[in-house]
Symmetry: none
Amino acid sequence: MCRPTSPKPVRTGRTGRPRSAEADSAILDATRAALVELGWSKLTMGDVATRAGVAKTTLYRRWTNKSELVVDAVAVLFDELELPDLGSLEADVRGVVLQFAALLERPEARTALMAVVAESTRDEALRGRIRTAIVERQKLLVLEGRARAQARGELPYEADEETAARNADLIFDVIAGAVVHRLLVSAEPVDETWAAGFTRLLLSGLASLQN
Amino acid sequence: MCRPTSPKPVRTGRTGRPRSAEADSAILDATRAALVELGWSKLTMGDVATRAGVAKTTLYRRWTNKSELVVDAVAVLFDELELPDLGSLEADVRGVVLQFAALLERPEARTALMAVVAESTRDEALRGRIRTAIVERQKLLVLEGRARAQARGELPYEADEETAARNADLIFDVIAGAVVHRLLVSAEPVDETWAAGFTRLLLSGLASLQN
Amino acid sequence: MCRPTSPKPVRTGRTGRPRSAEADSAILDATRAALVELGWSKLTMGDVATRAGVAKTTLYRRWTNKSELVVDAVAVLFDELELPDLGSLEADVRGVVLQFAALLERPEARTALMAVVAESTRDEALRGRIRTAIVERQKLLVLEGRARAQARGELPYEADEETAARNADLIFDVIAGAVVHRLLVSAEPVDETWAAGFTRLLLSGLASLQN
Amino acid sequence: MCRPTSPKPVRTGRTGRPRSAEADSAILDATRAALVELGWSKLTMGDVATRAGVAKTTLYRRWTNKSELVVDAVAVLFDELELPDLGSLEADVRGVVLQFAALLERPEARTALMAVVAESTRDEALRGRIRTAIVERQKLLVLEGRARAQARGELPYEADEETAARNADLIFDVIAGAVVHRLLVSAEPVDETWAAGFTRLLLSGLASLQN
DNA sequence: GTTTAATCGAGACGGTACGTCTCGTCTTCCT
DNA sequence: AGGAAGACGAGACGTACCGTCTCGATTAAAC
């Protein structure tokens, strides 16, 4: 999975010096590094600029504020999430749970995700950015997993399209929510045991959605 | 539910003028009010002090920083959560889900919870504070609900105490996580329909935990 | 030379616990010590209280502010100035110049004198306090020296009383002013050589005042 | 007399936005104004910044503290001192005495001079700043006056250069010291009568320095 | 090969909030 | 009643970042 990180409405003016592509990646790298070291609240634009060997102006030319910069810097981490076919729905779910947990163990990911979500409670635009950059991307995994399970005959095909969508959303929130909450709010580890227990609960539950 | 808010390691020294109890509550009220109006990032200590009719020093004498102040200010909101006996496990779960969702619709609660969780990813002490002030409190509801269901005969009594605890934790993270994620990350409403679907999924899943 | 340091209108009321006399001297000692270590601007009432093993309240009960406290604390230093009879007017003058210079070499004296004078440029009451506590005391030395010189026949007796007073004032300002200015503004040392030169200049000048 | 006020070790770096020259003079003007109104101790950096229409940071970028700012702001007042040729040494001395006294009647000058001298008793750097910004400037007047008197034949030319310098210093401290002490310590006016008396004393004394 | 125009770095700018400090007062308990 | 202890309202301190701005110096496409 890959996608262009084109933050600000680039003036398509022909003439003039073009923006440095190196700068962009240097900035995003610096942002992630700073995030790990300092956390969200201690991270400053000036520091990121210095680390990236870039002027503050260059940052502001591309991102309007800290939140947007961090979303872009971190979004790429969520692209790593994949759904390798492990042979059964149960294995697939357990796999994605552990994979997501591993991602959230990384300080830059956990810090950034929560910080950005927190910021978004007051910022509609940021909420949208999170949705497209992170949420929808993850939701695809749910759809993919379901399709695979249906092909395997583990799950029935749903007749009503709307119901199908609603169920996918529900499952997504249950999986992602449980993992995030366990790790970041309850502050307990997500290990094999927990993943197994959770998967058992979820799969049994899934049956009930079909009637 | 009520509990003393004793923020800083209070020197129990006998002598000297005692801290004003009025100030404490005025500050917490002011913090909640400011949080609603301004959100986490615009909330300033100086503003809180002004609103509370109190000097800035008085704030810092009690709380070392914004995060701790906000945790204490918001924790009381979570005390409102209750588990009225609605006659069945299913009704109880649906009730608590909607109640929790209603709480998170309130701007001060949603903003504060996420902001504080975000901050806590870098702050061990804050994490502890959140746990005792918010998490443990909510977890009691799960235990209460289970006990009630067991009394009704809807759920079996668990033989192994450790398993029982693990299951309670799991259920707690699934419920709280799903609601929070739906509301704050997916940014979709938690209505009767969703609550019903979620409850159905959860209850079916619960059966699997007994074997 | 000695004098009671009774700063504030002492309540002569019979009843109640009498004021600690020890406290007074402990405070003045602490003030001088703090002055040497910290200088005027870094000296704080709280610190003085702590050093003196006394509550801040006790300070404020006796002195209304920093300036008055310091004047009282330092005034005693100027009591040390004496005019031993060295046998001639010239020796007397040189002696008092060196003595005054030695006093102003002491950090607490130089710092306090200037600080208090500076403060007094805006404070009429403080100006009065300085005058009675320091200036008048020093001026007596000039009168004493003149009387002695007149007795020796080195100086004529002045007919007009007013002129006599005016001349004493002039000489006082010339001596004290020159020493203070040399030490604190020009920041050059007052040694035997300078004292000799200055004395020569002054004594020659004195002749002119008689016509 | 005029001179550039170059406060802080200015990085002569080529790049970056250059410092505003307007800001510098606006700040110094504001400082003098605030000094007149409020006096040294009530003068705050924030207030000066506001009056100057400048951010507090801009002040701190140029001056490390209040004292240095005030020295620079006030030094310019001492540039006003001049030595118009009044035809005789006696008239010249009396003129400069009255002129200096007039300067010290101005609240900003008297307050600032003393405050800064007081502060300098603990601050070597400030002492140096005062010396170059104020003292040396005034001392030139003494040299100029002597040269003029020598040209008129009122004073002999001094053979030994070192003695000449020492005498100039002595005279400077006597004049400046006497005026300052009379005005600020004794708190008596410097009028025509006093100036005449002082000048008479000084000129008679000067004769003695030649032998 | 100029011109042109947007980029770059550096760093000063007006702001705002921070968390600390000291002030002088007030309140409580203890002697 | 006096004193110590220490909390209180007030407000300045000096620092750190914010996001904007002015600089002179690149840099490439358009002429």
